[in-house]
Every structure is written in structure tokens, then in C-alpha cells.
Subunit: 340 residues, 2 copies
DNA sequence: TTGTATGCGTTATCAT
DNA sequence: ATGATAACGCATACAA
């Protein structure tokens, strides 16, 4: 493989001149530039990134830490979509994207420490779930810019983060029903241990209040996100004396069980009970009936995270930012479109 | 950040000695080793990977090229699961995994060229779909070991590849039905433009022949893999005079439509028609009924690919290998377990 | 505008 | 067993 020296020799100039040509240095005559460019082409030369890295003290690499509880739990393709958004901007910047699992351990330390100590990354994008004061301290001490995927919780420090606008999303869901003359809007799968879930619930409540609707506690069911959870919660709801005319599922999987419960009870969707869920995956489209959702653009989430990260890399000392990605409603068969 | 020089100074030895200590060189007295180790700990020293890369001419990085037709088509989490398998072995080897999209373009060249020319990768794992003679030539010329995810097609060259044992999988599906005294086994979604699909079909045929069952062409329906495809194909099948007693879906999504069609016709699953599909995702588990599948271990596929890649990296000139990952049957509600 | 020399942090060769 | 030094490929301060 040709090195910068070979090019210099071939072009009859010094290595510095070649280096300047590569890096678009303005102080170079167009005559010699042509010579150099010609030699570069003839030798099929391309700078060695490793050497550039060492010289510039820049790894030209950013890292995505992915949060997988265990090897078999990657059902949820959330991070995969996030990754593609990130990828887009990273390669545009001529950086590389390295991906690693949160619980990878190397030489008795976690990947993040390993990457930082090896000077292999210029910035990191990581899930809010793993961010604590210790991690923040470490990253800051090493001057590694980072952005959190998801709103962090229980944190004294202000950090940069990007998330879906879940409060607005909850509001959107409730407003949609209200616009469609639904008045008894249930919210199932409420789980206040998860920020995104709590935010959606807040939005739901807010929309009710803004429309002077009563907030009925018996229409809010707490629970998890499995299909069985959804089934049970919906059953509970259907056992009440007065039924809801619409349901917001706080997360995606539970909606499948909930729909099943409604169908089993003999009620029809969307006529008797209209249903909306939150999603970004194919599930909503493959079910019978297809599920109306507040569409969550996870690709955009990744894209914006990466953009923010590069802003931090390029302008150190920038103020912390919080960014919320807006959602939109995707009407499918579990809702009807009366209001249009 | 402390460099090897700082450590040398602190320990009162030369940089060579420190380097030897780091690299477990045997010709070093335990006394000085202790001194060096102590200094390393005190200075919190860690070797700079960029410098090691330059000196050793090793990027300590391997690349996964992911095949995404467009930004919105990452529904299928196939590559995400593959990635986790790869990740596992890559970091075990203290390498990094960089991930990039197939159609990323940099400086008028594709990522692969860019990575190779920048000496940023020691090996690459890429989908069979993008492997052609030109790509092979390029990789071989640059001495970059590579392994294909999936059996390649229309290739003169022999290359290293890993795939699911799809023929065996097809056989497994058919044999399962045969063992359960099903005799009219349909195969829907046959698509001979896809290797994995064709292999499954071959296995299906093989199992029939081995059991002296008639191969009935009207029980084989060609088609795609959408839920609507599945619905239509199953409808076609149900319009025949003699119905199948069991159905093998050549791919996952179509099974959802197929099940729907059976249900609409008033037949029951699995009593009247038993159904099996191929999958590795959550879909099979969230449907009503849950779908029996030939379980495809995509994580293992990634893991083995990476293992093979490192074998190639460590033993250049090794003979080409083909590796098939075996499948197993996951019985769920669309089949009954008579044979046990 | 161009060239020379030095440094980036390692490893490897050759002494000792 | 240890040390001095060149080399890896590039960027840059300084000199010309």
C-alpha cells in the first residue's frame, strides 16, 4: 500500500506538500496540487486513518452503547432503528460507528471504560437507563461528549438528551378520541416506574383537563406491557359497570392482549371501543385488526442524537440541551375517522 | 493521559521494558515487572490503541455491513440479532465492532472501499446479497478476510459463509407433520428467487419422498411474504377440492394472513389444519393462536460468522468453509403434540 | 509556496 | 534481562 512518502516521491515534492494537498491547505499552488493529485491517483493512495488518528489525536469514531438485558432479549428492535439514524450522520461526518453491548466486559472493566482508556472514541450515545453520576463523572473527566437516548431520571446533573415527546404523544392520543366524541377514555398499562410511560400518562391527563372531562381513576389501569398483561387489564376494565368507549394502551405489546379481550367480550372495535397504542414497529400493521398508533419515530431519535453529539464534539463547552421528537398519529383499523 | 514514557520514567526503566510488560514478554524479571505494574496502576495508564494500531498495523476492528434497502425497512430485526452474536466474540477478542449500512456512500465510494483504503478493518462480515465477483476480488486483493451471512448464489468463487440449515429446516417441518399422521402437507410462499426459501422447499420435498408420500403440485403455492400474500395463498389452497391437513409457511409474516384465512373459512387450527412457520422473532408468540415455528437461531448465526472470521484472520490461507446452523422446532398453538 | 525536522505512542531490532 | 533507537504514516511548527 502506498504511503504518503511514495506519493511525495512520485510527485517530486515533500511529504508536507502531499499532506497539505490531502487536507485542502489553501497555501499551495494549483500546479503542484495537480502533480500531487495525479500521483495520488496513479498510486491509488489513500491516507491511513490509524496514522491520522495518532497524529491528530482523533479516533474518528463514535460509539453507541446498546442496552440488552440478555442475549435473547433483542426482540425489541428499538436500538436497531436508533442505530440507523445515528449511522446516517456519523458516516456523513466520515466517522465510524462502533456498537457495543452494555454488559460486555473486557479485562474486568466495562466496554465504555475500555474504549475511553484506549482512546478509541470521540463521543458516545447511550441509553438513559445506564446513566448515573459515576458514569457522567467519568465521561466528563475524560472529555468525552455524550448524549442520552431517553430522558434521564433521578439525576442531579444536567446532561444532553434526546427523547420522544411522550407527554405530547399521550395528549395526542387523548385529544384524538376527544375529537371523535369519545368521552370515557381509558388508559391501561400505566407504569410510573418508567419515565416514558409516566409522560404519556401526564399527557393523557392534561388533555382531559383541557377539555373539562372528568378524570376517572377507575379508567386507569396499572400494569406491564406483555400481551397477557394487556388481556388482563382489559378484562378488568370490561368488568366495570360503565364501560370505556376508548382505550389508550401505554405501550405496544399490551395492545394485542387488550384487543383480544375486547373481541372475546363480544364488543366490536372500533365501534364500541376504539383503541390506540404507541408504536413504531411492524406489529401494528400485521395484526387483525391493524392497530392505530401514535407513531414514534425512533430513526429520527437516533439521527438527532448523533447530530447533537457532533455539535458537542465540534463546540466543546456548549450548554446542555434537551430535545423532544414529535409524534404523529397513524390511523388504522382500531379507530374510525369520524372527525374528518 | 499518561503515556508509556511516563510509566517508564515513574518506574525507572526504559519504554521497551514497559512495552514488554504490557505484552507479557517472558524475558523480564518479576522484580521489574512489579515495579512497572505499580507505576501503571499509579498513573492509571492504558496503552493508546491508535498508537498500537499504527505500530502493529492492526486496526483491532472488524466490520459488519448491514443490508437495509431503505431507511424505513428495518422492521426485520434479523441483522440486529446477527450483530449481537458477532459482538459477543469480537469484544472477547478485544476488537471493536463497527457497523455500517450497505448503501452508505462516502467520497463517491461505498463504505467498504472507504474502510479498506483507510485500513480501518481487519475483516468483514457481510450479507450474501451484496457479494459479487468484484467485491470478492477487492477483498482478496486487500487481504481482508470476510465471511458471508447466508449462502451465496451464482458465484464461481468459493468463499466462506454461514447460514441457517434451511434444507434441514424444511425437512424438519415436513417430518413433524408426517410424524403427527398428517398426509396432505401444503407448502405456501414458495419463492425460488430466494436461496433460503428454495432450500426449505427442497427439504420439504425430500421429507415427502423419504416417506413415500406423493408430492402434489397443487399443494405448493408460490408467493411473497406479506400478511396479505399469506391470506391469498391460503384462500387459494382452501378453494381446492381436497384440502390440506397441514401447512408449512415458507417465511414468517405470511403465516399471519394464512391463519386468518383458515379462521375465516370456519376451519379450526390445529385440528383441521395444522400450521408451521419459520421464525426467530416475537411475532410467533404474540399472535392468537401462537404460531409453531422452526426456530431459526440468528444470534448463533452471527456468533459462528464471527468465530469463522477470526479463524481466517488468525490463519491466513485457510481453506474455505461452509457452515450450517441447525434449527429446532418450537411447538406452539398452531400444532398439536400427538406424537408424544 | 514549499521543504525540513520533530512529534504522536507504540513495537521491534539490535545492542549490551 | 534491559536499554537505545528506528520505524509505523501522518501532521505541523518552523525555516527558507
Amino acid at each position: 500500500m502506498a504511503s504518503i512518502k511514495d506519493v511525495a516521491k512520485a510527485a517530486g515534492v515533500s511529504v508536507s506538500t502531499v499532506s497539505r494537498t490531502i487536507n485542502d491547505n489553501p497555501f499551495i499552488s494549483s500546479a503542484t496540487r495537480e502533480k500531487v493529485l495525479k500521483a495520488i491517483k496513479e498510486l491509488n493512495y489513500s491516507p491511513n486513518r490509524m496514522a491520522q488518528s495518532l497524529s491528530n489525536n482523533n479516533s474518528y469514531t463514535i460509539t453507541l452503547i446498546v442496552d440488552i438485558e440478555n442475549e435473547k432479549s433483542f426482540y425489541n428492535s428499538f436500538f436497531y432503528e436508533v442505530m440507523h439514524g445515528i449511522e446516517k450522520v456519523v458516516y456523513q461526518k466520515e466517522y465510524c460507528l462502533i456498537v457495543s453491548n452494555l454488559n460486555t466486559v473486557l479485562k474486568n472493566e466495562n466496554v465504555l471504560d475500555w474504549l475511553i482508556k484506549g482512546r478509541r472514541t470521540e463521543g458516545v450515545i447511550l441509553p438513559s437507563s445506564i446513566i448515573d453520576s459515576k458514569t457522567i463523572k467519568k465521561l466528563k473527566e475524560n472529555n468525552i461528549p455524550f448524549v442520552s437516548i431517553g430522558e434521564p431520571e433521578n439525576l442531579r446533573e444536567t446532561i444532553n438528551w434526546v427523547d420522544i415527546n411522550n407527554r405530547k404523544a399521550g395528549e395526542q392520543a387523548a385529544n384524538y378520541f376527544i375529537d371523535n366524541h369519545r368521552r370515557k377514555i381509558a388508559f391501561i398499562g400505566y407504569d410510573d416506574s418508567k419515565v416514558f410511560n409516566r409522560r404519556r400518562f401526564e399527557g393523557y391527563k392534561l388533555a382531559l383537563e383541557n377539555n373539562e372531562l372528568n378524570y376517572e381513576t377507575n379508567l386507569v389501569i396499572k400494569g406491564g406491557n406483555s400481551k397477557n398483561d394487556g388481556f388482563r387489564m382489559m378484562k378488568d376494565l370490561l368488568n366495570e359497570k360503565d364501560l370505556p368507549d376508548s382505550v389508550i394502551c401505554a405501550d405496544n405489546l399490551m395492545s394485542i392482549g387488550a384487543i383480544r379481550a375486547i373481541q372475546e367480550s363480544g364488543l366490536s372495535i372500533p365501534e364500541d371501543i376504539s383503541l390506540i397504542s404507541f408504536d413504531n414497529s411492524q406489529i401494528a400493521e400485521i395484526m387483525y385488526p391493524t392497530i392505530s398508533t401514535i407513531n414514534v419515530d425512533v430513526y429520527e431519535l437516533g439521527l438527532q442524537s448523533a447530530k447533537l453529539l457532533f455539535e458537542l464534539i465540534e463546540n466543546p463547552g456548549k450548554r446542555e440541551q434537551e430535545l423532544l421528537i414529535s409524534t404523529n398519529i397513524e390511523e388504522r383499523e382500531t379507530t374510525e375517522q369520524e372527525h374528518q
